[in-house]
Every structure is written in structure tokens, then in C-alpha cells.
């Protein structure tokens, strides 16, 4: 098919403008973090941090409780995602591979569960955690985050498990494997992309969660990084360099992880979906 010169230029021009638009806030966050204050508080923007400085990162890292909150965030996120993967894997295998009474109802339960409006349940969750005398603890956070990602993980993994041809499993069983062995040796390796895609989303959800930690973990060293970032901002007010450094530190792990796993996440979700 022949396309005019104009017909070839406009999609590329549009794509370039869009790419700049989407990347700019991220670019502006990182570059502001490296600019000395004189280049930030200025009538005309400085587009590139020529006089780069690490001063703002030092401020952010030395802010009270930063490192203990990093530890909290990592602990809660890893535990929540790990637990939910384990539980979801068992469950997804059951709903994808086995016929049993109540299967439909159980799938529907998880579908409704993934719509759960956690944002408005904070009040009752606060009451429950308070009555259990576990405010400012990482334990309830971990479990609630686990459940926030569990239904999505289970239902998405169901698609991946179903996409593995039954024959593979059956022939392994004919060869003398038990059902469990067949699962571990044959199916599990084939689920790797699915596990990566779902754990990526789980990781993001848990790492970013804000309303719950805002209410449950008020003590300054007991929260997670989103809470730290929001408090950092109100504390450092107009110190945009430090605030952007803090935001960069918080966002960086996710950005890196996402860029690495992006293909798996996008392709993975739809591949699992279409084959499902």
C-alpha cells in the first residue's frame, strides 16, 4: 500500500509529541532532583541539570526514619506478594483444572473480591486492627496487602494454568508422576511468565498503597514509603529539589522493575488472556 509523505510523517510526529508528553513529568522529577536550588527557584526553567548536585538526595536520605521505612516497605511488599502468589497458585490450579461443586460460586467470589473498595473500608479496618491492638504494626498491613492482590493474582493465574495443555500434565502422570509432581515439574516452569506478570502488579499495588497505611500506621517509623513521601512533602514544603529527590527514590525501584518486565507484563497479560 502506498502512503504519501504526509501520511508517513504525521503518525511519527504525533508519536514524538505524545512520547515527550508522557515522559516529561518523569524527566522533570529526576532532573529537578539533581538541580541546585538556584536552578529550581527561577523565573525561567532550567531544562537540563548542568550544575548537577546530590545535595537533595542527601537531604531525602537523611530525613528522619527513611531507612527504617525502606525496610518496612520492602518487608511488607515482598511478604504480601510472596504469600498471595503461593495461595493464589493453589487456588488457581483448583479452579482451572478441576471440576467440583461450587466452583462457579467461588470464581464469582474472587471476581467480586477484586472490586473491593479498600479505600472506603479503611474505617472498619481501623476499628478491627485497633481492637486487636495491632495499630502501627506491619503484620496487619502485610495481610491486607496480600488480600488486595490475591483475587487478581488468582484469576489471572487461572488463565495461565488453563493455557498449559492438559496433555502435558496427563502424559507426565502416565509416566508415573503424581499430580503434585506433574505440577512442579511440568506446569510450574511454564507458568513463569504469568507469575512474573502478576507479581509485578502485586508489587506495584503493595508498594504504592496509601490510604490504609495512612490510617493504621501513624507512628513516624512504623509506616511505609508512600506515607513517608506524603509527609516529607508537607514537611519540606517548597523545597522542590528535596521533594523530587524523595519522589525519585520512591519511584525508582518500580520504574526499573517495570522497564525490565514490561514486555512480559503487557504481552503476558493479553497472551494469558487470549489463550485462556
Amino acid at each position: 500500500m502506498k502512503r504519501s509523505l504526509l501520511g508517513r510523517i504525521w503518525p511519527n510526529a504525533a508519536a514524538l509529541v505524545l512520547a515527550l508528553g508522557f515522559a516529561f513529568p518523569v524527566y522533570w522529577m529526576f532532573t529537578t532532583a539533581f538541580k541546585p536550588n538556584g536552578d529550581i527557584i527561577t523565573e525561567d526553567p532550567v531544562w537540563f541539570p548542568l550544575n548537577g548536585t546530590f545535595e537533595h538526595f542527601t537531604t531525602a536520605v537523611n530525613a528522619p526514619n527513611f531507612w527504617s521505612l525502606v525496610g518496612n516497605s520492602v518487608t511488607v511488599t515482598v511478604l504480601a506478594v510472596g504469600l498471595s502468589l503461593l495461595i493464589a497458585l493453589c487456588g488457581s490450579f483448583a479452579v482451572a483444572r478441576m471440576r467440583f461443586k461450587g466452583r462457579k460460586g467461588i470464581i464469582l467470589t474472587f471476581m467480586v473480591a477484586q472490586m473491593a473498595p479498600w479505600e472506603v473500608l479503611v474505617i472498619s479496618i481501623y476499628m478491627i486492627v485497633r481492637d486487636a491492638d495491632m495499630l502501627n504494626s506491619l503484620v496487619p498491613l502485610t495481610f491486607f496487602y496480600m488480600l488486595m492482590v490475591l483475587p487478581f493474582t488468582l484469576l489471572t493465574l487461572r488463565g495461565y494454568v488453563a493455557a498449559v495443555p492438559k496433555e502435558l500434565e496427563e502424559s507426565a502422570m502416565v509416566d508415573g508422576c503424581t499430580r503434585t509432581q506433574a505440577f512442579v515439574k511440568v506446569i510450574f516452569p511454564l507458568l513463569a511468565p504469568g507469575l512474573m506478570a502478576t507479581s509485578l502488579f502485586g508489587f506495584i499495588t503493595a508498594w504504592n498503597e496509601f490510604p490504609l497505611v495512612l490510617v493504621l500506621n501513624k507512628e513516624p517509623d512504623k509506616g511505609t514509603l508512600p506515607l513517608w513521601l506524603s509527609q516529607f512533602q508537607s514537611q519540606f514544603g517548597d523545597d522542590w529539589g528535596a521533594t523530587m529527590a524523595a519522589a525519585s527514590l520512591f519511584a525508582l525501584p518500580i520504574l526499573v522493575l517495570f522497564l525490565f518486565l514490561q514486555r512480559k507484563a503487557v504481552g503476558g497479560l493479553t497472551a494469558g488472556a487470549v489463550k485462556g
Binding site: A19, I204, L269
Partner: protein, 327 residues
């Protein structure tokens, strides 16, 4: 990210491996062993759901009938109010105002996200390899930005005095915008929130839509071209029908996501100025946790869930039907 898209997407393709009865021979072999196995495998997931979701839901319902404020909380008093909280909320103006605002806010955002997301997705499909990579990376960056970090960055971009947005508007000849305070009025605050939410949500729609278009069989396009269909006709007769289930699922997902948007609105201006940008989740939070009217907050959150269910009822019914067909 909390809703699956698989079921709607897989619709057009023939179902393989899922649903339907297993081959008769196999059932005999594993049927007995599998008798209790599925339940055992599901116990952890179901138990966790019951404890960490079911219990808060029940607790929320109970709370909504109580008169629970700071005083009762500290003294551990249980005062029942019957349907008093609901009467107050439904009888007052604020709840209805916030509900209408939330619905309009959700509708505007979801429309923008879906229309622009589809356009960008289709654009991705038309690009050459290099340009597609450039745009994809930019989209992924926006997608991956954590909500709280993104909100902080947008506050900086829209900063009244040194924000780059006002500088650009000023340079474009819009001099009154030089020191414009974006969070000073309802509409402009909503504008910033909308730009933020749309910026964050577009990548998911665009990238997944592009991925979905790559699964459309090429023969369909060739056949349509042979029949002399133009670009628009090809879109309406091939692309759109193929993507319809995906679009439906994504719209549903975005409705839930935008409706529940919390950190963006809360961190930009805590629902202000003058509580004018409160949506239902923020309203429930402010009443319940902020103003320490826990009973009232619980009642509002229950009503919020009802509104959300009403907004998504259509899709839920479709999904229910689909699961019924399958089982």
C-alpha cells in the same frame, strides 16, 4: 490494577482447555483422588478473603448503624443509632452533591481515557519499530510511576510560582496564567487531577489495546480490503468487533479505578478547596477518619459501595452470564 481482563478478551477466540466436561476416561481415573483436593487447595484463599475482606465488610455494616465518634471510641462505648446515620446522610444535600460530582468525574475521566487510549493504541499499531519503542517506553514510564510520586510531581509541575506549566502558558501568550494558583478553585483543581489520572491511565489502555490488535488475524484485514473497505470501514467491520470484549472489560476496569482514585485527589489538595473536590471515597474518609465520625463514615462508605455496584452492574451481569455459560 485490580480487575482481570482475560475473560472478556478471550471471548472471540474459541475456548480451549477451559470449561466443559473433561474427557470421560480421565474423570474416572482422577475423580476420586480429586474429591477433596480442590477444596483443600482453595481453603487458604477463601479463608483469607473471609477474614481480611469479609470481616471488614461486615464490620462496616455494623458500624454504620452505630453512633461512634471520638468520645465513644475512647470510652469503648457502643451506642446504636439504627438507621439514623443513613437518614442524616440521605436527607442532607452534601451526599447527593458528592455523588453527582463523583459520577460526572468518573464519566469524564473514563471517556477521556478510553477514547485517547484507543487512539494511541491504534497509533502504536501504525508506527515503525523504532518509533513504537520510543512511545512505548514513554508510556511505560508514566504507567509505572507510583500514584503518590506522580501526584507530588504534578504538584511541582503545576506550582503557582515556579511550575513549568504556568511558565509555558505565560510564554504562549497567556500572561494571566503566569502565577495561576491551580488548587485555588474547584474546576482548576479537578483539571489537574484529571490530567494526572488520564496521564497515568492511558498507558494501560493504549499498550494493551495495541497488544490486542496484534492478535487480530491478518486475513481479516486482507479480506476487508479485497471487498474495497476504506480505513474507517475496516475499523468498524474488523478492528472494533474484535476488540469489543477487550474495550468492555477495560472500560469497566477504568470505571472502578477512577471511581476509587484516592491518593491523587487526597494528596493534591485533600478534597479542597472547601471540600469542593471530594469524591465519595474521599468524603467517606474525611467524615470517618478526618472528622472522627466513624459511624457516619461507615454509612457513607456503604452507600459508596452501592453507587459503585450500580455503576458497574451492567458489566457484572455480563460476567455472571458468561461464567454460567461456561460452568
Amino acid at each position: 490494577m485490580s480487575v482481570q481482563i482475560e475473560d472478556a478478551v478471550q471471548n472471540p477466540a474459541p475456548r480451549i482447555g477451559k470449561g466443559g466436561a473433561p474427557p470421560p476416561g480421565r474423570r474416572r481415573g482422577t475423580g476420586r483422588a480429586a474429591g477433596k483436593a480442590p477444596y483443600l487447595l482453595l481453603i487458604p484463599a477463601l479463608a483469607a478473603t473471609a477474614v481480611f475482606l469479609g470481616w471488614p465488610m461486615v464490620r462496616n455494616l455494623i458500624l454504620s448503624f452505630q453512633n461512634l465518634n471520638m468520645k465513644q471510641l475512647i470510652q469503648h462505648l457502643t451506642e446504636w443509632r439504627g438507621i439514623g446515620n443513613y437518614q442524616d446522610i440521605l436527607g442532607g444535600e452534601q451526599f447527593w452533591r458528592v455523588t453527582v460530582r463523583t459520577i460526572v468525574f468518573t464519566a469524564v475521566n473514563v471517556t477521556l481515557i478510553m477514547v485517547l487510549g484507543v487512539l494511541i493504541g491504534l497509533l502504536l499499531a501504525r508506527l515503525g519499530k523504532k518509533m513504537r519503542l520510543v512511545l512505548s517506553v514513554a508510556l511505560v514510564l508514566a504507567w509505572a510511576m507510583p500514584a503518590i510520586a506522580a501526584t507530588t510531581v504534578f504538584q511541582w509541575l503545576f506550582d503557582a510560582r515556579y511550575g513549568v506549566v504556568n511558565w509555558v502558558l505565560d510564554k504562549l501568550g497567556w500572561h494571566s496564567m503566569a502565577h495561576y494558583d491551580w488548587v485555588g478553585s474547584q474546576l482548576s483543581t479537578f483539571f489537574v487531577i484529571t490530567v494526572l489520572i488520564v496521564w497515568q491511565s492511558l498507558p494501560f489502555v493504549a499498550l494493551n489495546l495495541y497488544a490486542a490488535t496484534t492478535t487480530i488475524p491478518k486475513e481479516l484485514y486482507e479480506a476487508a480490503r479485497m471487498d474495497g473497505a476504506g480505513t474507517w470501514k475496516v475499523f468498524t467491520s474488523v478492528t472494533f468487533p474484535f476488540l469489543k470484549p477487550f474495550l468492555l472489560a477495560t472500560t469497566f476496569l477504568e470505571i472502578i479505578w477512577v471511581f476509587k482514585a484516592f491518593p491523587q485527589i487526597f494528596a493534591i489538595n485533600e478534597g479542597g478547596p472547601d471540600r469542593l473536590t471530594e469524591t465519595l471515597p474521599i468524603y467517606a474518609f474525611t467524615e470517618g477518619v478526618g472528622n472522627l465520625h466513624f459511624g457516619m463514615g461507615a454509612a457513607i462508605s456503604l452507600l459508596t459501595i452501592v453507587v459503585l455496584l450500580a455503576m458497574t452492574a451492567y458489566y457484572l451481569r455480563l460476567t455472571l452470564k458468561q461464567e454460567e455459560d461456561e460452568a
